[in-house]
Symmetry: C2
Subunit: 218 residues, 2 copies
Amino acid sequence: MTPEQPTAALPDAPTNPVQALLEAPLSLRERKKLKTRQALRREAYRLFAEQGYQNTTVEQIAAAAEVSPSTFFRYFAAKEDLVLTDEYDPAMISALLSRPADEPFLTSCREALTGLIRALLQHERQELLTRVRLVTEVPALRAGLDRAGNNPRELYLSVLTRRAGIEEPTYEMRVTAAAIGAATIEAVLQWAKTDGREDIADLVDHTFALLGSGFAGV
Amino acid sequence: MTPEQPTAALPDAPTNPVQALLEAPLSLRERKKLKTRQALRREAYRLFAEQGYQNTTVEQIAAAAEVSPSTFFRYFAAKEDLVLTDEYDPAMISALLSRPADEPFLTSCREALTGLIRALLQHERQELLTRVRLVTEVPALRAGLDRAGNNPRELYLSVLTRRAGIEEPTYEMRVTAAAIGAATIEAVLQWAKTDGREDIADLVDHTFALLGSGFAGV
DNA sequence: CCATCTTTTGATAGTTACTCTCATTTGAGA
DNA sequence: TCTCAAATGAGAGTAACTATCAAAAGATGG
């Protein structure tokens, strides 16, 4: 059994997933699972910082977190997932869906994105920076971004589809989701590139303005 | 030593890479290398068709092509590369660079892309279709698209940079290349999805019009 | 507190993509 | 034909996964 994302299981999760984790009343079993998951991630990041991502084996991570390698793979389907998965998708989806349905999707994305990131930065700025930096530096992680669930493309696409009240997304939706998703990734990577000094809202505004203009001037 | 792409080594490759392969005067050694490469790919695709991509091992492919597994990896750095690498990049780059430098990049891409694909379809339609279908169906391949060299993003970015006569691409260029690159992939995937029935020029036109309009109506 | 049921865990063995090294073969060029 | 460089094959090794199964530990009803 793959342990499910904690927030996804909650009936009405607050918009801030961090709070969700803290507030939720958990059974002993679930608290242990959470601790294991956190320990795995914490030790992994420590080892990554010390010796690099590639030079750190899953075996080492499991040992540091004092679980067996088997258990590691029960928590993270792949080593990549230590860095690539997060629990923010539900928040982003609800932020997007709460925008008016007739608003240009680009605008919805801009607003939802800046709002969500602002909230995250308050609590997890450093961790976020570390993660994104890892993604920029390790080719394997960059590649993993395109895997199911890790790419904003799919998130955007699901919202577009649901917002239109249809089953299968149209081709225009796929193109839109892919392009805005790719731009979103660039914005986040750029933010990490400047060590988070660049204001994320400005960055997103600038990026999406470029998209909205049809790449005017390029 | 990794064997380099045949066309890349030629001083002035014709626009059609297929012809390039046929016309080039090759030494016995290079002809053998070419034959080995072709045999590996041919046997690989045959096995993929029979038993699927995941169920086919590198060992099987090497055996079918009558080379050792060691040799396989001298020709293809990864199993993915059997499907993901091609020799069209130089042609695409030169097509892009031959467009006027002050033309909107989106237009340059549209023209270069339709031209290149049209040429390819004449000779390698079936193979192209098979390849793209594989990419759509195998998650691992889809992910590999984001790896160095396989994504149009990097190609676009290099052209943008060179065209501007600068060393490091600007952020706007990165966003543009990423977004147009993602849309390009969607277009190609869509083409394969309709089994190549949809006219590729129409598809590209339509796609890039959407991008140029700033996703009007979505 | 106990007995039972279910979930989580660890141990083990296996697969496969990929790397490294070194000896052998084979084409190139004089 | 001789010599050199490039290409190959063989073998050993690494590490990310996968599958299976028995043991441990939390949940639950009495």
